[in-house]
Symmetry: C2
């Protein structure tokens, strides 16, 4: 029996999530029982959608927001270990299919050790792929980007694709998939460093720096009324500016709405885009999607991403925090825009 730490939800966030919404707790780790294994967490992975899992406030329709909000059904109770994807290494095992040294991935949560009983959900990792790559461009991140551009947006060669949150984990891959498919790709990201990385490493055609430029004015210049696919990770003013410039029969792919995740719940929502009439005049579709609906296309997508990544055609980067105690801080980076690429934490 050794000591093991966990991050629990100390209180529900009010408005922007804060470090103080979480608290460290220490518990004993037991030896595995018959048919069980114990694994030590090596990596945590962070996604914006996890913000919704922390929420349980009744919304104005009298419903628990967590049910329908970006958490997509997953909720974390106050006092419970924070849920989240992780990679762990088996350290002791009394089940025949797991051996010390095996790397497994699952929704293990923010804990230093995880018990893997018969009912535990996990997948094995391919030991030939670096864990940050497996969790990022070849994991749910890259697969989500692929489905959004290919299956939902149906972006084809010659079309103009605009991606918001372009320097983020999903956005940067989405833009590159579109570029490889022969599209003209315009990214929206914040800051000169991200802009340069998207232009030079990801080879986007244009990048709008929303911290230095007026997104509405710049999109009007770069792609007036000619956005065929808008891949949205942020919502807010960027979505409104994109709607104003959609081409006839354009498609808006709603992958995330980071800008609204806090405000939608604390009653301060500034409202959504006020120009939806463009969707009628231009016959535009707006489609929300989740990766889980595309199970039948996962093998095709995974193979495509693996081949392109192996060939060096997909730039990617991971923003790796160090130390279990940094988990809340690493998570908060997603919402301040501080992270550069896939946000991970190494224990």
């Amino acid at each position: 029996v050794i000591g093991s730490r966990q991050w629990i939800l100390a209180r529900r966030p009010r408005g922007p999530v804060q470090a103080g919404d979480f608290a460290l707790r220490e518990e004993a780790v037991f030896e595995p029982g018959e048919g069980e294994a114990v694994a030590a967490t090596r990596w945590l992975s962070f996604e914006p959608a996890m913000r919704g899992w922390l929420d349980d406030a009744p919304d104005r329709w009298g419903r628990t927001a967590g049910v329908a909000a970006p958490g997509y059904g997953v909720t974390v109770d106050v006092g419970e270990v924070v849920k989240g994807p992780a990679v762990a290494e088996v350290v002791a095992s009394r089940r025949p299919d797991l051996h010390p040294g095996d790397l497994v991935r699952g929704l293990f949560g923010w804990r230093e050790h995880v018990s893997l009983g018969t009912g535990a959900g996990f997948q094995r990792l391919d030991p030939s792929v670096p864990v940050p790559v497996a969790l990022g461009v070849l994991g749910g991140t890259g697969l989500t980007a692929y489905m959004g551009i290919v299956s939902v947006g149906s972006a084809v060669a010659g079309e103009t694709v605009v991606v918001s949150g372009a320097a983020g984990a999903v956005g940067s891959v989405a833009g590159q998939i579109a570029r490889i498919r022969g599209c003209r790709v315009i990214g929206i990201a914040g800051g000169a460093e991200k802009r340069r990385w998207l232009l030079e490493a990801c080879r986007f055609d244009e990048v709008v720096d929303y911290k230095a430029e007026d997104v509405a004015v710049r999109l009007r210049q770069l792609c007036p009324d000619s956005i065929d696919v808008y891949f949205d990770n942020v919502g807010g003013p960027a979505l409104e500016a994109a709607i104003a410039n959609m081409a006839v029969h354009g498609r808006i792919v709603l992958c995330g709405l980071v800008s609204s995740y806090d405000s939608a719940r604390d009653g301060t929502s500034p409202g959504g885009p006020g120009n939806l009439f463009h969707l009628i005049a231009r016959r535009v579709s707006m489609q929300g999607y989740l990766l889980s609906d595309y199970a039948d296309r996962l093998p095709e997508a995974a193979a495509w991403l693996r081949d392109r990544e192996a060939a060096g055609e997909l730039a990617h980067r991971e923003d790796i925090a160090e130390g279990f105690e940094q988990a809340p801080a690493a998570f908060l980076r997603l919402f301040s825009g501080a992270n550069q690429g896939k946000q991970l934490l190494r224990l």
Copy 2:
């Protein structure tokens, strides 16, 4: 040569359109030249989209709003005759294909007489169908409703369909098409009289009276998280309440956004729905459409509507104003919700 009146656009509306935005003008009507006919207007037909035709204010993206707004490319200049659909009867003809007494339909505008030269666009009316029916349930109104429910929304038996602006010309037909296809149909309309008509004549399953009830609360009671198709004519709070209750893989059909037609242009837009994250969590699509994209399905739709109307299965009513001088007042009824059914004017 006789005197003939026309309604011209006297000034561009600022905010809500007003009677004072229009002015009467008198002009001479000439005998038809060689290859021409002159027709006397018998009916005017009014649609909410015509509001957009009156607008030319640059929006915040520096573009002429009329280009992209609900006018869909049609604009009316100040001093020009107001454009709009009409039915006219040929009174004098020097073209071999038109004879006095022939009834023709076209975008003739608000004028007492129209000259039909070689380039004039018009269609003949079937003399066996009453003009109000031809302009309403069997015209663009009914065809728009059909395409929205069948082609865009793909509503099938057993699904729940919610229609806003349900007592309007398009909405009432849309709901009935869904009902005939075996859907459960819930309407949103204003006032006890409209509610009764929708329940008794149109046989909707439920009707929410937005003037007497909280739409969000009522939808939550009637169809919690279970709207398969939302057919929207109004936008605004009803759209937000519908989004909150969409079923997984639900479809939002954007036919009109009457609530935003004025405010979107005068800079007072209250913003759109603030709960778009539901579109992701529930994988909902929102699709704007125009009838003009569905030319290949028009014969099928027209035949379906004609058969159902002839069999007495489609309730419809027309709100008929009298007298050319009432044209602006009749048009304004669309935006106050005063009209009961298809708004027409008989000269």
